[in-house]
Amino acid sequence: MDKTYNNKAWFLVLPVFVLVALSAIIPIMTVVNYSVQDTFGNNQFFWAGTEWFEDVLSSERFWNSLSRNLLFSFIILSIEIPLGIGIALCMPKKGPWVPVCLVMMALPLLIPWNVVGTIWQIFGRADIGLLGHTLEAIGVDYNYTSNIFDAWVTIIVMDVWHWTSLVVLLCYAGLVSIPDAYYQAARIDGASKLSVFRFIQLPKMRGVLIIAFLLRFMDSFMIYTEPFVLTGGGPGNSTTFMSIDLVKQAIGQFDLGPAAAMSLIYQLIIILICYVFFTVMSHTGSDKPEQGAGE
């Protein structure tokens, strides 16, 4: 039997399509446009093909900022995820302290990025900052504007301070959703604290951990505002992450072609890594893909 197709319903998708076009497709296509052409202003464009991509991929500058990004995300994830799980495990599950803890945890998340950068910029200064002054007083030679190591430590501590809460809150939500019966059954089975963590809490947190992992990866990989405010990418180029480099090229040097090519490569890397993470993480510990919200 022939089916009759009625394509009028597609018109109903039109409003969404217009919105997505304005918010995503047109900007991205503009970038694509720049990445394959050269311009000398006056709206005159010349076809450049893959030249900008080749330029970017063969430049040392790109690989340097990419490896800085990868290192930064790696350090951030390996600190924030375990720390977040640890803090969530220590938080009370009921009683009057629950709201207090939750509000305290949520506070850093409410502070705008550039304010976070400013706070730490002042906090770390040796003349007026509490941290910088204290460190100097106890004889630690600390200066995030001139010492590469200090600059990195400051940015990492700042990010941990700013974003560990997100991991904590997600893990906490996962933990409180575990029914009491699991803990009771584990006690009856004679399970140790470690087994309870390994076989109940961790598996039950898997879903939220995937989210925490992806969010923290994407955010740390795209970090811009805080190092921009705190170190401005320095000392030297030591904290020039890809996003900062990108802005330097696009707005500082007005090299729109290479900047556009780099943006696209940047985006592809993020999508690719997230896809790999998600696929790997949602397949570990299960013999088939998770369906819906589980049981």
């Binding site: 029914p179 019966a181 699991y182 009771q184 059954a185 006690r187 009856i188 089975d189 004679g190 399970a191 140790s192 087994s195 076989f199 109940i200 598996p203 039950k204 510990g285 299960s286 013999d287 088939k288 589980g294 049981e295």
Partner: protein
Amino acid sequence: MAKITLDGLAHSYYPNPKTDADFALKELNYEWDDGGAYALLGPSGCGKTTLLNIISGLLVPSKGNILFGSKNVTELQPEQRNIAQVFQFPVIYDTMTVRQNLEFPLVNRQVPKNEIDKRVAEMIQVLDLEDKADRKARGLTADEKQKISLGRGLVRYDVNAILFDEPLTVIDPHMKWQLRTKLKDLHRQLGHTMIYVTHDQTEALTFADKVVVMYEGDVVQIGTPEELFDEPAHTFVGYFIGSPGMNILSSEVKGKTARIGSHEIKLAHEYHALGETAEVGIRPEFVTLSGGKKGMPVSINSVEDIGRFKIVRASLEGQELNAVLPEGAPVPADPKVSFDMSRINIYENSHLVRKGA
């Protein structure tokens, strides 16, 4: 395995209970025989889960002691008591295989490896899980998961008791029956003491040798299913057991007669004069509805045909009365009811007055 003794047990969730109403579980003395199958039956909030958690050690009672055999275990933690508990929702360790799930309680107790293998293999066979033994437990159906949580208890030979907290709640109806039969089988095979909490009378009556009926923190009756049906010790039991429940009619009782409004009913036994709280209890199964001249006239409110028989909801002198009418019997136009004299129970203050008392 051992006898379980509840000695003056009571529990309140308040730190300083004052009145009776503060107690979730009122004082209770009872002995659970070794190897018995018991059901704790009652509506939600009657204290049955509280009692179960006290036996398993998840709760420490406010008053009284609990003994396994001659050993006082009141203060012992669940892991030290050697009991097993199956919860309302199947508790399984998602990341483990079925086999690892069953091994887990033994591994935690440092049972030797070859002994573990032997017992687990046996348990997998008993539970009919051979073909799924090495699969991850997370993908299984609810009833299979519930079998695993049961198996984790049974795999320890020496458990004092296996406690069930409404274990069939999330199981599909057609699997409920199978799993219940399996439970009965296991009880017969292995002879563990089993205590089964439920609010479903069918589950309780089919599973247990003895049913403990609880109401508002009190144990109102402990008896065989037959006793609960024939001689409910409390009007609540009469009402709760049976479908529809027992008819409870307030009346005056004196000697061998009970008076309901303007009607007199002959009783099989002599009772001394009872006060205003006297009630007549008669099961709908023993109420006869006929169209003749004999009996007390009733007005019929509704008739529910449930296939095998009809339930007639009527009123007698303004009091509600249910009667069961066999299949095919017509509903009389001018209905009269009469009671089977030997099946009448008399209550005072909601408690059964023993015959001849």
